[in-house]
């Protein structure tokens, strides 16, 4: 499995991570499935609903509010997501995955990431260290949900 990333969405993800630091950023990846591989044509920034704790609570309450906040959690507003799904379809593209940042953390998925993940999607993580985008990785959940497998990224074009 390979995630083919166009240079433009790659730059978009890195910039979004840096811009929203020290909060976690998130967004959606539009593209196409190409057999076992995926191609990402566009990265669209979405709002981290955790910056609006009241609304976030309606969708998915935090387990330990004292330790969890917009700095180490992200949640996508399902209404924004519905709009994004429609935008993708209108342009003949599919939602192939999502991206988020790990502020001052390595670009490795956490258990929390895994527990909330769906099969098939590519989960791109960018590590942002002191405001600067660093390592960028991609992950796909295994069928039995037990772990994330690392997915190779190839920058195309």
């Amino acid at each position: 499995m390979v995630l083919n990333l166009d240079p433009r969405p790659l730059e978009m993800i890195r910039q979004h991570g840096a811009r929203d630091y020290p909060n976690e950023c998130c967004g959606v990846l539009f593209g196409r499935a190409e057999g076992e591989n995926k191609r990402v044509i566009e990265a669209v920034p979405l709002r981290n609903l955790r910056t609006d704790p009241e609304k976030a609570r309606e969708v998915l309450p935090l387990e330990e509010p004292g330790r969890e906040s917009e700095r180490n959690r992200f949640l996508i507003d399902p209404r924004e997501q519905l709009r994004a799904e429609k935008d993708a379809r209108a342009r003949g593209l599919d939602v192939v995955g999502y991206y988020h940042s790990h502020p001052d953390h390595p670009a490795r998925p956490s258990n929390y990431d895994r527990e909330h993940a769906w099969p098939w999607y590519s989960y791109v993580i960018v590590s942002v260290v002191r405001g600067e985008a660093k390592e960028l990785t991609s992950w796909v959940l295994t069928e039995d949900r037990s772990r994330f497998g690392s997915e190779a990224i190839e920058v195309v074009g």
Partner: protein, 99 residues
């Protein structure tokens, strides 16, 4: 009556790789029951073991979240579109003590 259920990309592998499925139903709950009866592998992704709709699964009727309508009892009209939207959430280490 016939309604369309739009399937998100991660779940298309369980419905013969289609992006939408038509079902006959009069409520949301019935539509989802028929859908998962026909495509058994979908069931564990949409429902908990005790048969409740998973909290990570958002169901929209046209553009309305069914949680703000009558949930699974929400009645359907012909040509309604049901969209399944998977919740997307994540974050750093569970016990982030770095700041």
């Amino acid at each position: 009556m016939a309604v369309k259920v739009v399937i998100p990309t991660p779940l298309r592998q369980y419905v013969g790789k289609r992006d939408a499925v038509e079902v006959q139903a009069t409520t949301i709950g019935e539509a989802l029951a028929h859908l998962t009866a026909e495509y058994g592998d979908l069931r564990r992704h949409l429902y908990t073991e005790d048969g409740r709709l998973r909290s990570f699964v958002n169901v929209y009727l046209n553009d309305e979240d069914i949680r703000f309508l009558q949930k699974e009892q929400t009645p359907l009209n012909a040509n309604d579109v049901i969209t399944i939207v998977p919740s997307i959430a994540g974050g750093c280490a569970r016990r982030c003590i770095c700041r």
